[in-house]
């Protein structure tokens, strides 16, 4: 087992907010798919927590500005920080926009001690942030140094002031009092807490064989992290040179969309190549070359394996940052070559689908196929039902767009409930079961006439003027009415001049054997639904 690498982590606080230009004192929050991804200090002190739903967060802090997360801007703005750090060491590793890391060993000699290195790193990042975002509009950065990237990341996040330097060899003692939730494995942490192991120290103190017997390789990896022995070097296999993929582009490409398209197929082939050998990539080097020989290489790491879609996103972010960067680093011509080199690969076994409960293999497969179809047909073309409630059969369910790209754990895609909750109060005036099997999103206007050919109307008391005899479409003869039921008036939201709706429903069985739901609203009849 190799010793953990002494690592320095630079963590820019609340980067999703900072990158969008929100000053730390402003109440603001950033949402990603309906949940809070980051909140400013003011919003947090009002009770907003990360992961909360939009409505709950706004109830806690109504004055907060709500922004949509923009990962492209995050990556682009962070690129300036990474470029500045490359004056200190060329081996900067971006973990995600807002956080990057590098090994201390090389630059520490150059700067003569860790304190000096941390000091000049902080100054460099501060200067880069001031240049990009403007002085005083950002909360600055936190720096942590420890043995291994896991501990260093925690050190940077726990830094109340500017920095925390955990002395060499002191990492286990630093980790010991921290709660197990910092492992970011919620299921495992939940079990550990119930077993009485609330801190990393308690987990690290257990005999290794007992942890393995009970929790398998996941537990062992967690224990190694908790003991300050970063497992990152454990599962690594020697990289094979033929795994790198590259693509020449002729003529040179100067549009981001084209590069992103090429990157997607390239990432796909790298991913397939690795998967055939049972490997997954956790660190990839993206290298681009322009027609004038300029090269930009960047290292991307993700603790979970980087999927093909995520890899393509990172290529795109990196190039966006490059093309929109300061003039000194901006490329002067189109790209002629793109290379993806897997730098660290692990056995993919630990990234397989579970057998029991949760997301089944069928769910995963369905989620992948549906997101592929969503990509083929465009956004919003694949929907999953979500219960909304109401009296109108067309409004009781709404279709939530199925997410494009890779789906995470919840392969279902539906965020809300799909059936009425049992404690849902009833909707008086809703049509009773059975519900119509076909609900027309764009109802057809029809004419309903009585036996003498006069239009059938419903008066203010809900009484029909005459028995409906025929339902005519577009001036034609139309079908004869065999029998009918109703009318049922519904007067909704009468207090709201914009959304009020006063309508009358009628069930009609015509001589073609089909039953239809006719709705009279605003003086005209429409076929709202068919009992198909």
């Amino acid at each position: 087992m190799t010793e953990p690498v002494r690592t320095l982590v630079v963590c820019c606080l609340d980067w999703p907010l900072t990158a969008l230009g929100v000053a730390p004192s402003d109440p603001a929050m950033v949402l990603a798919s309906g949940r809070v991804a980051a909140a400013s200090v003011t919003a947090r002190s009002a009770g907003v927590v990360v992961g909360q739903r939009r409505r709950g967060a706004q109830a806690r802090c109504p004055e907060a500005v709500v922004l949509e997360r923009d990962e492209v801007i995050e990556a682009r703005r962070f690129e300036a920080v990474v470029v500045a750090l490359s004056n200190i060491t060329p081996w900067v590793e971006v973990q995600h926009p807002g956080t990057c890391a590098f090994a201390v060993r090389g630059p520490v000699r150059l700067f003569g001690g860790e304190e000096a290195l941390v000091g000049s790193t902080a100054a460099t990042v501060q200067r880069a942030l001031d240049d990009t975002l403007g002085t005083g509009t950002h909360p600055g950065c936190r720096i942590g140094v420890a043995d291994g990237p896991f501990a260093a990341g925690l050190a940077s996040r726990s830094a109340m002031g500017e920095m925390v330097v955990v002395p060499s060899g002191g990492t286990p003692a630093f980790l010991a009092p921290l709660p197990v939730s910092v492992l970011e494995r919620p299921d495992l942490a939940d079990v550990l807490v119930r077993l009485g192991l609330t801190t990393l120290g308690a987990l690290a103190a257990l005999p290794v064989q007992d942890v393995v017997a009970r929790f398998g390789s996941e537990g062992m990896a967690a224990q190694l992290l908790a003991s300050g022995l970063d497992s990152r070097q454990l599962h690594m296999v020697a990289q094979q040179p033929d795994m790198a993929v590259g693509m020449d582009m002729d003529p040179p490409v100067d549009r981001i969309e084209q590069v992103a398209f090429a990157a997607r197929s390239l990432a796909g082939s790298l991913h397939d190549g690795l998967a055939r050998q049972g490997l997954a990539c956790t660190c990839v080097v993206v290298e681009a070359e322009t027609g004038h020989g300029e090269r930009l290489a960047r290292r991307w790491r993700d603790e979970g394996a980087i999927g093909a879609g995520a890899m393509a996103d990172r290529v795109r972010w990196q190039l966006e940052g490059w093309l929109h960067g300061p003039p000194s680093v901006r490329p002067t011509s189109g790209l002629v070559r793109l290379d993806l080199t897997p730098e660290e690969v692990v056995h993919a076994g630990s990234h397989q689908v579970g057998f029991w409960g949760g997301v089944t293999a069928a769910d995963e497969r369905a989620g992948r196929a549906l997101s592929r179809v969503a990509v083929m047909l465009g956004p919003g073309s694949v929907g999953v039902p979500e219960w909304r409630g109401g009296r109108d059969p067309a409004g009781q369910f709404t279709l939530v767009p199925f997410p494009e790209g890779p789906v995470d754990g919840s392969a279902g895609g539906a965020i809300g409930p799909v059936s009425p909750p049992s404690d849902d109060p009833p909707w008086p005036g809703v049509l009773p079961s059975p519900a119509p099997a076909a609900v027309h999103p764009e109802p057809v206007v029809v004419e309903v006439v009585d036996a003498d050919g006069h239009p059938v109307v419903v008066d203010g008391r809900g009484v029909v003027s005459a028995e409906p005899a025929r339902v005519c479409q577009g001036g034609g003869a139309g079908g004869g009415v065999i029998s009918w039921a109703g009318p049922w008036p519904v007067d909704e939201r009468w207090w709201d001049p914009l959304r009020r709706s006063h309508r009358v429903s009628l069930q009609v069985v015509s001589d073609d054997g089909l039953a239809r739901l006719l709705v009279l609203e605003g003086g005209s009849w429409r076929i709202a639904a068919t009992y198909d």
Partner: protein, 248 residues
């Protein structure tokens, strides 16, 4: 990775067994090392006939006695075809299969829920362009157990041939709603031939149930015609009470 609940139970009790006796070395025979695919084929369990069926609601037992055979195609037509298609989806989706409906934006989700379709495993795909239709449906039948299509254009024979090959290979079920021409014979055709609504009169009552007569014809084992009168839907929305008439 979700931690399986079985890991929370006590560890396997076989850890303390004495090691097996290896005193007699087994006779070594040289055999070619099988590739992983071959080994997996030998090790995989036999597929039972039951596993090649998708379950259906008990109400449909008179029409499709054993369930929907994987790798088959069904045509559903007549007045009430949508209700019948939903009823066919209900059994499989509640048993864990995913279903997608391609090109039927009218599908009543409230009715689907009442019939018994597990809406958390239902996806609705908006009608694709005719040129993309084959690719979209082909992607879905490769990964979902049930794919319901209602094409509004004339589907080419070559598209359907490739689609059916994929359906058979992946063991999914393709259901087509509608009366228009289809360039292939369905393995099973369900037609609602007669339906009458009950529960309403001239300005009183409400639609309560429909008595529908459904005819099932098909190929091979399903070649004998079945004729069933059922409530499609019954007053609570689900299909019930089939009465076998003749032939079954």
């Amino acid at each position: 990775m979700a931690l399986p609940s079985s890991l929370l139970a006590e560890p396997e009790p076989f850890d303390d067994l004495p090691p097996e006796d290896h005193s007699a070395p087994p006779a070594v025979t040289l055999r070619p090392v099988p590739t992983l695919v071959e080994a997996a084929r030998h090790a995989s369990p036999t597929t039972l006939a039951v596993e090649r069926m998708l379950p259906v609601l008990p109400a449909l037992a008179g029409l499709v006695p054993d369930g929907l055979r994987r790798g088959s195609s069904l045509g559903v037509s007549g007045p009430g075809a949508r209700s019948l298609a939903m009823a066919l989806m209900a059994g499989a989706t509640s048993a864990g299969s995913w279903a997608a409906v391609v090109g039927d934006p009218d599908l009543g989700l409230v009715a689907a829920g009442e019939v018994g379709v597990a809406l958390e495993r239902l996806a609705l795909v908006s009608p694709p362009e005719p040129s993309a239709w084959g690719d979209v449906v082909g992607t879905l039948v490769g990964s979902l157990d049930l794919v319901v299509v209602a094409p509004h254009h004339r589907v080419g024979a070559e598209t359907v041939r490739r689609l059916m090959a994929r359906v058979r290979e992946r063991g999914s079920v393709l259901i087509r709603i509608g009366d228009g021409p289809w360039p292939d014979r369905f393995d099973l055709t369900l037609t609602v031939v007669d339906g009458s609504w009950e529960g309403h009169g001239s300005g009183h009552g409400r639609l309560r149930l429909r008595r529908a007569e459904v005819v099932a014809t098909g190929r091979r084992a399903a070649a004998r015609e079945r004729r069933v009168v059922m409530m499609l839907p019954s007053p609570d929305g689900s299909p019930t009470a089939p009465e076998l008439l003749g032939g079954g």
